[in-house]
Symmetry: C2
Subunit: 344 residues, 2 copies
DNA sequence: AACTCATTTGAAAACGGTTTCAATGGGTAA
DNA sequence: TTACCCATTGAAACCGTTTTCAAATGAGTT
């Protein structure tokens, strides 16, 4: 592979001159500039970015740690970051932590060793202290979906509590009073926030919170199905369910349908996240939109700005507000007739 | 950020010794080894992989070019490659070409500039010659879903024709004789292959190929819906449809259902790819499994082996055979009650 | 002709590692 | 005792760039 020296030799100039042509960093007399360009062309020269980064201390790379590579949710996150970073002429290096402490740590170490100029991190496993150590470092870092006390300026997150409140309030406004919540069994802040939002909405409407109506399961389709069957077995006369996420809602819906129950005629369902699944399910799932794509894009803009003032700052707030997406999985019911007809 | 010199100074040894400890490349007397380790710990030393790669000419990075970051299909591909490469203690650098010539070229250039040790490439836009130039280079390269004459040893692909044949034959074996094919409007090898497979199966069963029953559209849900409505307008007495991919099948199914038609009672549908969508759709979609995850994993194993004989070769064939996944979207019909000799 | 000053250029010093090579010193065999 | 070998070590060269610095050139002024 050709090096800058080869180019210099062929063009009959010094390496300094070649470097100047490459980076357009100082004036070079036209005849030499052209000779250099011709030589680069001829040798199919590609600058070694490692050497360049080594000396200039800039790699033009933004590191991104996600939970998983293959999930639609993180797919959107990656795409959001990617889009912004590419537009700035820089590149993204992605690592995945698979929700494991050790792997998340590994991913971050990898990005640091590669000397990424800045980091965007979605971590649920790493403890606050470790992230703070990162934030205190000399490179820009933004955290997604974490709230670290004292470091709010670097944390981009969604108001989960409000989202759950919205979902539950929507069900209440449609006449439902007997609403279950399928929560996550993973000890994660989101889970608690969404549970609170659910509880708040109930309280606001004067509906008693009933522990029986909250059930935790692993936050995927299977978990949702399991939770739903468990709820059905409890004979609670439910008319609606609010699930921790779309996958659980999907599992719950499938379970209901397989048991011969109609959604939403017999039971209304609301999810959370608004991943592609929600638009495919029959009936289409009413859910809470999680703008993870935009959040990733914002994170990218913020780190780029921190890196170089020339990238315009995005003044958008770091706290995102979720939005209700109404589709087909919620039915309006009249309260009074509920028990008699059950048909809404 | 601490450098190897800082560590050497703190430990009271030379940089060579520190390097030896880091790489375990030569024996170091225990007392010094421990001093070095203590110093690294104390300074929170992280080797600069750029410098290391520069001199050793190995970056421990595998470059991966995909079509899109956020699609489930490529998500699986990335995950397959990622898994294998991580297990080998190396890392993946992902770029996306978004099916655009220029962006694909850019992505490859980026990976070359970063001096990736090897490349795994899924490209549909780059011309053969350009890929051949890559293959001729000194680094291992594997191509996914391309067949370049003379370079079959580096091409991992799926037998699309056989997959389409399987899908069509399945419909025929279930008694269908009036089968449409929704094809892709994008000029892509896959499209032609799948069309041939469809035609072959028909011919084998003595069913006449009818151009009227083939329609092309953009290969997404919307295109599938459009194609289906077009087919319905033609009044062809269809009993089954084989779609280019799951997304088009989904679009077609939705279109049918919205028009009050029952799937599979009135029309059977078969897709292609077996992405997550197929398992979510109601009815669950019968489709052809595209083992892109395994194909990515194989590509990764092959490049790792090419890089270093120590990684065991995966002797799996480079041509993958698709498989029929039976779900709920195909109904068995009795052909003509009179002629029928049984349940095909 | 002598001087200033701006432009263009190349030599050389980084950047942070790995690796080669020669030096050192202790142990062992003769 | 001497010679030899092996393990351990540090100095220095190198990887492919960028960047600093000083030199060379030449035009414009006096």
């Amino acid at each position: 592979m050709a090096t800058i020296k080869d180019v210099a030799k062929v063009a009959g100039v010094s390496v300094s001159t070649v470097s100047r042509v490459i980076n357009n960093s100082a004036s070079v007399v036209p005849v030499k500039r052209e000779a250099v360009q011709a030589a680069m062309e001829q040798l199919n020269y590609q600058p070694n970015s490692l050497a360049r980064a080594l000396v200039s201390n800039r790699s033009d790379c933004i590191g991104l740690l996600v939970g998983e590579i293959e999930s639609p949710f993180f797919g959107q996150l990656m795409a959001g970051v990617h889009r912004v970073v590419m537009a700035a002429g820089k590149h993204v290096i992605v690592t995945a932590g698979y929700h494991q402490l050790e792997q998340e740590r590994d991913g971050i170490r990898f990005m640091q060793e590669r000397r990424c100029d800045a980091l965007v991190i979605h971590s649920k496993a790493l403890p606050d202290e470790e992230l703070i150590r990162l934030l205190e470092g000399d490179k820009p870092v933004f955290l997604l979906n974490r709230q670290i006390p004292g470091w709010e300026d670097c944390c981009i997150h969604l108001d989960n509590e409000y989202g759950a409140y919205l979902a539950t309030r929507h069900l209440i406004s449609r006449g439902h009073r007997n609403i279950a919540h399928i929560s996550t069994s993973i000890a994660i802040e989101d889970g608690e926030s969404r549970l609170s939002g659910y509880a708040n909405a109930l309280q606001e409407a004067g509906i008693e919170f009933d522990e029986q109506k909250v059930i935790k399961a692993y936050p995927d389709e299977e978990g949702g199905g399991y939770a739903m069957s468990e709820l059905m077995a409890r004979n609670l006369d439910l008319t609606a369910v609010f699930a921790y996420n779309d996958a659980m809602a999907a599992g719950a819906m499938t379970m209901l349908q397989d048991a011969g129950r109609l959604v939403p005629e017999e039971l209304s369902v609301v999810g959370f996240d608004d991943v592609i699944l929600a638009r495919i399910l029959k009936p289409h799932l009413t859910t809470i939109r999680y703008p993870i794509n935009e959040m990733g894009a914002l994170a990218a803009q913020r780190v780029l700005h921190a890196l170089d003032e020339r990238y315009k700052a995005n003044e958008q707030a770091l706290r995102f507000t979720p939005r209700l997406i109404e589709r087909q999985s919620v039915l309006s019911i009249r309260r009074q007739t509920l028990k008699s007809s059950g048909q809404g």
